[in-house]
Symmetry: C2
Subunit: 322 residues, 2 copies
């Protein structure tokens, strides 16, 4: 799916965001410049900055401030990925070696801290205290979500509600920061800010459900990292939950989580079972429901190209292949 509306509206401004992100790696210490350059050049879909800019486009678009905030949300995202990879000891992300793989986990933790700081600085440079508070609260929620995931690794006693709460915390919260800050910085009426928060929440949950599906259905080449990573980490995602529900007797997820049988074989069988069942379709139904809910929030907003672009993004997150 091509993001035609999104690109025509904020494509050029996203180039400015990209430039601003890259400026972060211009530092005195060569070892730091190298680490930052590697991390930042990793790219990514830049969905969060696009969201921030588009929400601004709905109202009084303050280009300078929105670029700063769009940079902030992307750097915050990058920082969390650096820590995630260090914690999970993941060797590859987006088809490239991770920071922990190249420089060790210790330096990856510190680089993540550095990026949190830079993200916070960009946030503060908007001079808007409400946005800064949102930024800090978002980091709190993300960390809580990640801790929740760590504490519940290999725990089969988690239901759909636990799952949604967890992905809302670790993923949707950053989408909410992107939309809410974009709206706040553009002086959107409070009712619209709330609608865009809701939109961001539902979009973020849909996005993460699709992420969790792709971990079963995609390929290493498309994902840029090995498939089945969630299972390997003991993260009980929706496809795995539905597998356990559909096969309440013995099943590969249960065996994996209870450390029975050969680990790789269990992961392989779980992936195979999910792929050859209705589970993928069911998961997409869940994701689509959240995407639809996100889109329904747009009705109350000004009818303009930015609204259409937000609609397009909500369609995109449930159709993307990587």
């Amino acid at each position: 799916m091509q993001l035609i509306e999104v690109n025509s509206l904020v494509g050029e401004d996203l180039i400015k965001v990209e430039e601003t992100i890259r400026s972060v790696s211009k530092v005195g210490y060569p070892w730091l410049a190298e680490m930052l350059g590697h991390t930042i050049a990793g790219g990514g879909k830049r969905v969060r900055p696009a969201l921030c800019l588009l929400c601004g486009k709905l109202y009084e678009y303050d280009f300078k401030r929105l670029v700063l905030m769009a940079t902030s949300v992307e750097l915050l995202h990058t920082a969390t990925l650096v820590h995630d990879d260090a914690i999970d000891k993941s060797p590859v992300r987006r088809g490239r070696s991770t920071v922990n793989q190249l420089w060790g986990e210790e330096k990856a933790v510190l680089l993540g801290d550095y990026l949190f700081a830079k993200a916070g600085e960009f946030s503060a440079s908007t001079e808007n205290i409400r946005v800064v508070k949102l930024f800090a609260q978002t980091l709190e929620i993300i960390s809580k979500g990640e801790l929740n995931q760590a504490f519940n690794a290999f725990n089969l006693k988690q239901n759909h509600e636990d799952y949604i709460q967890r992905i809302a915390d670790k993923t949707a919260s950053l989408f909410v920061l992107s939309t809410e800050s974009g709206a706040v910085l553009s002086h959107a009426p409070e009712k619209s800010v709330q609608a865009l928060k809701e939109y961001g929440y539902n979009l973020g949950v849909a996005f993460q459900i699709v992420d969790d599906i792709l971990d079963f259905t995609s390929t290493e080449k498309e994902l840029g990292k090995p498939i089945g990573s969630d299972l390997a980490q003991g993260t009980f995602t929706l496809p795995a939950m539905l597998l356990v529900e559909h096969y309440p007797g013995d099943n590969p997820v249960k065996r994996l989580f209870e450390s029975r049988g050969e680990r790789k074989e269990n992961i392989g069988r779980a992936i195979e079972t999910v792929r050859n069942s209705t589970i993928v379709e069911e998961c997409y139904k869940f994701a689509t429901a959240f995407s639809v809910k996100a889109r329904s929030q747009l009705d109350s907003l000004p009818d303009c190209p930015a609204r259409q672009a937000l609609n397009e993004l909500a369609e995109y997150v449930v159709s993307r292949q990587s």
Copy 2:
């Protein structure tokens, strides 16, 4: 040394800071409450919150805002300690098991992130954008200092200047945040803000030099962690530098950093050599020079009990035994 002036001026307000810090552990998830409770109950000298409050006392003391900021600097300090211990795989701090020892390094990294966020929230709750910017910049400087230390572990080619830069970044920056934010939040004239920044910088450097001395001269009981930890991590501190300068031929620090000989024996010999030489005295001279420089900054400030207390603190940091 008793901190008589400090306690009489901000002793009660520090209790409020303590309460505010403890309120952070009141969260819904029991596993998070337990981790936070353990981390926060660890105590510490609360030098940084005291600094923040005292700088406020020099001008228009805004109790509510200063308590928020004093809490912020202490939580930021705590967060960096949690990450330091995780990175160094340290089992003990202040006589108690570290977060990484009890819950593993992965969760320690995430808890540190959570504490950075809480510190940021307290900072933002002062509603002062300058202070928030300082906060984010400080985290950047600290992370850079820690990365610098990690990249230069076991590197003998570092001089005094490199050392001072490193400890200024990783330690003094937080002292500067404490004094500068206290001054800014109390509407101090810009000239006084600059004097208090300088005071904080010099005090912080003195503080860290003494920390580095105590790693050689103290006992495990007094320090709350094994002595010689810096050497074990390959951190080239002032006492180790002076040892290499005084014994330019073969010496235990060189042997340790070049992985020659038995590790523990090298550390033991280095400690013994430092203790039985003039190195300790020389290091204290360095620290005292910074402490004196810190105190000299106070001359331009209003002559009041808070100024005397800041003077007392500058004497304390070079006389403390733990």
